[in-house]
Every structure is written in C-alpha cells, then in structure tokens.
Subunit: 230 residues, 2 copies
Amino acid sequence: MELENVTDEATPAPRRRYDDACGTALALEFVGERRALLIIRELLLGPRRFGELRAGLRGLSANVLTQRLQSLEASGVLTRETLPPPANVQVYALTPWGKEAEPIVMALGRWALRSPAHDPSRPFSPVSLMLALRMMLLPDRARGFTATIGFRMGKEGYTAQIDKDRVLLDRSALDRADAVLTGDPNAFLPALFGTTPLPDLVARGRVTVDGDLALATEFCTFFALPPKIG
Amino acid sequence: MELENVTDEATPAPRRRYDDACGTALALEFVGERRALLIIRELLLGPRRFGELRAGLRGLSANVLTQRLQSLEASGVLTRETLPPPANVQVYALTPWGKEAEPIVMALGRWALRSPAHDPSRPFSPVSLMLALRMMLLPDRARGFTATIGFRMGKEGYTAQIDKDRVLLDRSALDRADAVLTGDPNAFLPALFGTTPLPDLVARGRVTVDGDLALATEFCTFFALPPKIG
DNA sequence: CTGTATCCGTGTTGATACTG
DNA sequence: CAGTATCAACACGGATACAG
C-alpha cells in the first residue's frame, strides 16, 4: 500500500509532544524528562553550580545535565546567572515560577515514601535531606520550638527553623544556629526519622554536635516517615 | 546463548535507576516514565479499559501502553481486574495508594497552567476536563451551590457537585443531575474558564443543555485559569 | 474487541574521552 | 571546573501481525 501515508490533516505531528490541553501533560513537557525534577529539587534551596548539581545527582552525565539545563532554561524554569567578579562563576537558579514547583516535588516524595520499596540506606544528597525535614514535619509536635538548628554535611551547611507548621531552611547561616550537627546526610536518619536518640549517634561517632545538644535532640523528634501502605 | 555481558564489577549497575534515597527520586522510578502520570490521570475517576485509555491518550501506542500497565501494576499503583460475567471484561483500576497520587497530578497541572505556553485549543480528554473543574475551582464563589451538573461527552458521562471547597466527580450518574451539558470537551471551555456565558454557547450550537439552564450557567462561573506568570 | 509480540526508524540516555 | 563530542544501548512510537 504505497499510498503515501498522508499525515492526519494539517498537523505536522510533533512526535514527542503530548498533544493535550491538560495542564498535567504540559507540565510533563517541561519537567517530564529524566531527572529534570531532581535538578529542580537540587535548586530549591538556592542557586548551584554545574559541578554541585552533578554531585547531588550521582550518575548524571555531563552531557545530559547540559541538555536539561538548556531545556529548563528555555521553559522558564531556571536561569543561568554569572556572579560578578571576583567570583565570576556561573550558577543556575530557579525563576520565581520554577520555585513554585516545590509542591510537586513534595507531593511526589510524600507519596512514594509510603511504598515499602523505599530504601533509606541509599545515599541522600544534602539538599534532599533538608527538604525531607520540610516534607516530614509533624507540626503538632514541633509547635512552639524557636531554636535554630544547623546541619553541616561536607562543605554544605544549612539551618532549619520551625515557623508555623513549616520548616524554614537557609543555606550557610550556621553561625546563627543554637546547635550544629555535623556528619554524613545518611548518618542523621536514625535520629530524625527513626527512634534513635541523637546522643546515641553522637556516642557512636556518627554525628558530632556543637552547641546545645538538648535542643538538637528535641528537634530530631519532630519528624517521622509516613505510614507504609498495606 | 553467548553469555558475555558480564555485569560490571560488584554493582549489577541498575543503569536506569536513580540511586537516591529521596522520596521524589523513588516516585520518579514508579511514575517517571513517559505518559505514566497521564495513565494515572485517566484512571482517577474510575476504572477503565485498555481501549479507553488509548482513546484518552491519543498517540500512545499499544505496545507502550502494555508496558506501562505492567510496570504500574508491579509498583502497586494499579491492578488489573476482570469484571464478573456477563461483562467479563478486563479493566484497570488504581489501588488506594495509586489514588493518593492525585495531588501530584493536580500540583503539576496547576503549576504548568501558569505558563504562557499553555494552549487550551488542543484536545481535552473527558477525564482531564472534569479534573480541571476540581483543579480550577474558586471555592469562595462556589460556596453554597448545591445543584448537580452533568456533562455528556460522546459516550462518557459525569456529574459534578460542590462539596465544601471541593468538586465531587462521579461517573455515569447523569440521571440525578439538575442540568446536563452535552458537547465536545473543548466546547465547554469558553464558558467554564473564559467569560462566555453558557447560553451563548448554546445559541451557537456548540453545547446543548437539558434541565435547568440557569443553574448550569451559574455553575460555569465557579472556575478560572490561574494567573499567567510574568 | 482486547491485548500481546515483533520489526523498524528515530530520539534519548549515559559512559568515556576530550577541549577551554 | 565547565562543558562538548562521540558512541553504544535503550526507550519510544508506528505499523503491523496474531491470539483469545
């Protein structure tokens, strides 16, 4: 049947596009490619450099990261900015609209963590650990807590505060923290999301705490993984 | 079989897996493949058959749909059920956990609709139109409205009711509706999300209304697209 | 009609090597 | 450190053909 296979009507049929007016489908055209949402996750706590992104998303090769950054920039999700001298380095930052994707990242995380397939022994990036605090907060338990807790993981430092049912996160303000926990991201998990008291982790040398250990220990009880399905 | 293909070293190298403890990354392993979330969208209002899914997701080939259904079933997102005789047909239904993915679909849609790239002239599936009602409800405007409005699009029928800031959707309960709108999904848009009064659409023959036209017209004013970015 | 299997052209992904 | 180039493996979608 060599009959030419005329393309249905006028549409040139852009093959890899969902031809769908639904907002969800449009969103997937923006952020539906592999790892795109994880790149956004890594940017949710502030601008990052190319190499930092690669570090937070192990296994992502440079060429794919380049492609994603270009396509996310074209969509208006992020911008590429050059810091003024003497820094003079390039960083990638979410646009205001890009930051509004945070509820998507959170909804995905909260949902998937109910699966028994979740394996917290895999590595956490520093950003994803901090976002997990926001994701897993038990507001009733944390209410009224006013101290600032710092986390130092390798070169990265963050502070967390409780503000009305929400966790405020800030990069590199460790000097204002009432207590600073230092360690590998995964080392904190038993205290934050399990039942191990923070001092036990300190005793085992997995974590060190500078400042008010009692405050830090209390802070660690404000979080819990969601109940598993079934 | 030439065995060759020795897996690199200790790591069986699950190449296409994100090796990440973050819940967001895990979610993307479940629903991050192309169209997976759109399949979930099509199932959010009730079980569907293979062919119905293909109809709602034009351009999805049968082989890929088979793969997705298998992988979503393996993840526990949906189940394949055989209706009892005489129907005796197979349908795909979300599990309770799968239904909990609705906030993800909604968050994606609400976010993307703020982009100027959104083109409502593309086709809507009946399901996505009904979900758009839930997504775009202006609760303050709808409060107190108690009537039931039906929508008939081809063979598919749905009813919508307002229930405390939320739109209740039901399939095939048109007989209990106070007014039923009939037409193509896209034909409703000017009245639902634009400023065209419903009677104008009726006058132009794009939509027909059975029952209380005044109630239906009022219902159509309860929705609006989110403000564009910029 | 429902679903699966197979071939094929093309686009996407990721490992490695390479350039400024 | 920041990215590009190249290449092999795989995923996607169209078009079948085929089983119940």
